[in-house]
Amino acid sequence: MTTRLKEVDVVIVGFGWTGAIMARELTKAGLSVVGLERGPQRSTAEDFGLPGVRDELKYVHRHELFQDTQQETVSMRHEPSETALPMRRLGAFLPGTGVGGAGSHWNGLHWRLLPSDLSLRSHVTARYGRSAIPDEMSIQDFGVGYDELEPYYDRFEKLCGVSGQAGNLRGQRIEGGNVFEGPRSDHYPNRPLHKTVTGELFETAAKKLGYHPFPAPASNASAAYTNPEGLTLGACQYCGHCERFGCEANAKATPNTTLLPVVLADRNFSLRTHAYVRSLVYDKHARKVRAVQYVDVRDGQEYEQPAKLVILGAYVFNNTLLMLTSGIGRAYDPTTGRGVVGKNYCYQVGGGVQVFVEGRELNPFMGAGALSMNIDDFNGDNFDHAGLGFLGGAWIAAGTSGGRPISHRPVPPGTPRWGSAWKRATARWYRHSFSIGASGANYAHRRNYLDLDPNYRDVLGRPLLRMTYNFRENDYKLSSYCSGVAARIASAMDATIVSTPNPRRGNFSVTPYQSTHNTGGTIMGSNPRDSVVNRYLQSWDADNLFVVGASVFPQNASYNPTGTVGALAYWSADAIVQRYLKAPGPLVHA
């Protein structure tokens, strides 16, 4: 039997970055807020302490901190005509679970989008004409411009103590930073991380070719830092155990380190862990969400939590799933192009080369999640696409995120995977190799989308979310082009061996890790025909529902999404506090 709880002002579904930011902003505004998180609470001292946190097998290969696919997963097919099969084990992407979400085990690459990324369709149309966008490429504008979002980017960077070098300060270009970035109102709060030999090799080669290398913005604090919430981050230890691990030094910005102590201390806030949300109670007539139904998985008790305001802050998949299972908004239909929920699911498209430098001591085990040198010369629309046959680009980088030896075993092309020759190559090159990676944008395609699977269910009895997804022509061409740039940079080094470029080929596979940068499904935009939420992330179909996270990206840029996810959460929270609370109702009239 369901226990109906007393109404609160706000209930938040999911307690990662977006949940924590919303909880902080809305409790600060005096509202009573309940946070629901399906996973457990973890603490740095108990769960991420030395020596146990340096366990590659447990955290990388046994998926200690990730969503448990035994309980919940997605199914995948390449085309709408096929039968989807469940992803039975995590591989391509690694959604988090527990307080902090994937924000507690990310690498810390903390980017802003390019101004042209945010107004993509308008930008491409203006520069190349309408015919430059293929019919099947359903790219859109975000509906919020860079200048509007800039103060929120700045705020999120200051929360996280980002280490980096500005490249465009209020319109002034600064060499050594990313000269392609949109104008920043301020410097990064922390200096860049240490520049490694790998970074220097990349930098020298890129400069020789006339490109503009810069250190990636890192939410790995290069020095101790106290953020505007009064919480202190420690200095990065360059331990090489960042992505997929917790941080014992509290140097990686996470919801747990940058916000949680303040949020938990607020008497207006309560956090309920092990609270698995089943659905939203939707009053279609009134266009309101009345409550959230969840199960406390510790005892199986079902609850209904009524609230005046509901924030959907789960990962991309659950944000979309809950909209679909709760019947909020019209599900997307790829044959007619009508409907919006599940539309424009996107991912990212990788590529690159492996470089081997005999005699150079790289000490690959000394590293940090976001420690890399990058170029943006071939990103977004920073280069002329006329005649190239594709749109978008990639950031291209060489980094040192850690030489953990189960995973980091670079060997030259043609080396067997086992046996004596494999051993010799592994022993010879372990310390002397790095990759130049290209992280490419993934632009929306009409046949790439999310809906409900008819055959498979999760532990709550909900249908699995079904992913219909494949790489398309734009993706293969983008990956091939940007892998070629990576190879050109590698060739400009004094390298012993450079592998042949390895662009994305063949079908999307759920097996090898590629990126946990899934986007779309509840996209934002300027009208309800094309989008699920408006520019303030408010549902077009329920004005007291805000959907926050990368599920609102109309397509995916090349960048790691967290910087934009955090900025959009602050942008949305500001709209709620400054405007919605004063006059509850639609913030944009369709």
Partner: protein, 269 residues
């Protein structure tokens, strides 16, 4: 020579396993069997950190009874007898032979089994991973494309059991012997055929990928899991292990080789 010793060893394991099951009504248990007896049966010899090409002899060159008899007591207690947790004697022999083929002994490290990789695999298969933790196991189970990843109803433990039977049946038919007593060249050929799909055994490639993954995990993981004995794999590549706090070192060793005897999680407990 090697062939006969492997056969003798496996028979001995089978006899011991059967008799201990009769005696105890349960798998062999270290608390009731005396250590030397069990050690003789299941001990995975400790890798000699200074071992060179002779390391092969440590695993397969000397019979089990001999190794127990010739090892001093102190070495025996240090190398702690390793009762198999889930693999039966035939499976254990298969895994030892397989990891010795994937990671042969040479001047870089002792063999896979000498490094504890078979112990690691047995423990992994006996535990959460082997019994399908974090594996979505609801049907229908359909054959997908390779891009769908693992789609079998079997747990990793069950897949090991079922495929080892198939491989041994095949080698019995083709060579008159089970996999573990084939020559190294023959074992390499069998594994290559599994890897490429040429073996045409059901799930042969899937099994091989699991075997190779577990082998590399066992070789390179923290030694607390039973493999990477004496940090042999970390020494081989020059990975220093723990504590991995390099705030000062990253600048001090910029462009300079950082060398330190590796330390494991165990060393800090």
């Amino acid at each position: 020579m090697q062939h006969e010793e492997r056969v003798r060893r496996r028979r001995f394991l089978q006899v011991l396993s059967a008799s201990s099951a009769t005696l105890l009504g349960a798998p062999a248990c270290a608390t009731t069997l005396t250590a030397p007896t069990l050690g003789a049966a299941r001990v995975i010899p400790q890798a000699d950190p200074t071992a060179t090409t002779k390391a092969t002899a440590v695993t397969s060159g000397s019979g089990p009874t001999q190794s127990a008899a010739t090892q001093p007591a102190s070495t025996l207690s240090a190398s702690a007898p390793e009762p198999a947790l889930t693999l039966n004697p035939t499976e254990y022999a298969f895994v030892e032979a397989a990891v010795d083929t994937l990671i042969p002994a040479d001047d870089l490290s002792p063999s896979g089994a000498a490094c504890g990789v078979a112990v690691f695999i047995d423990r992994q298969l006996a535990g959460a991973f082997g019994s399908g933790a974090r594996l979505y196991r609801s049907g229908p189970f359909l054959q997908g494309k390779p891009e769908h990843g693992y789609q079998l109803a079997l747990t990793p433990r069950e897949l090991f059991g079922s495929t080892i039977v198939l491989v041994n049946t095949r080698t019995q038919r083709e060579h008159g012997r089970s996999f573990d007593v084939l020559s190294e060249a023959e074992r390499s050929a069998v594994l290559s055929a599994l890897e490429s799909g040429a073996s045409a055994l059901p799930a042969g490639q899937i099994f091989f990928e699991l075997l190779l993954t577990l082998t590399m995990e066992g070789f390179f993981a923290d030694p607390m899991y039973g493999g990477n004995r004496d940090k042999a794999a970390w020494k081989m590549v020059g990975y220093p292990g723990l504590p991995a706090t390099y705030q000062g070192e990253i600048a001090d060793y910029h462009g300079r080789r950082f060398d330190r005897a590796p330390q494991s999680i165990i060393d800090f407990c």
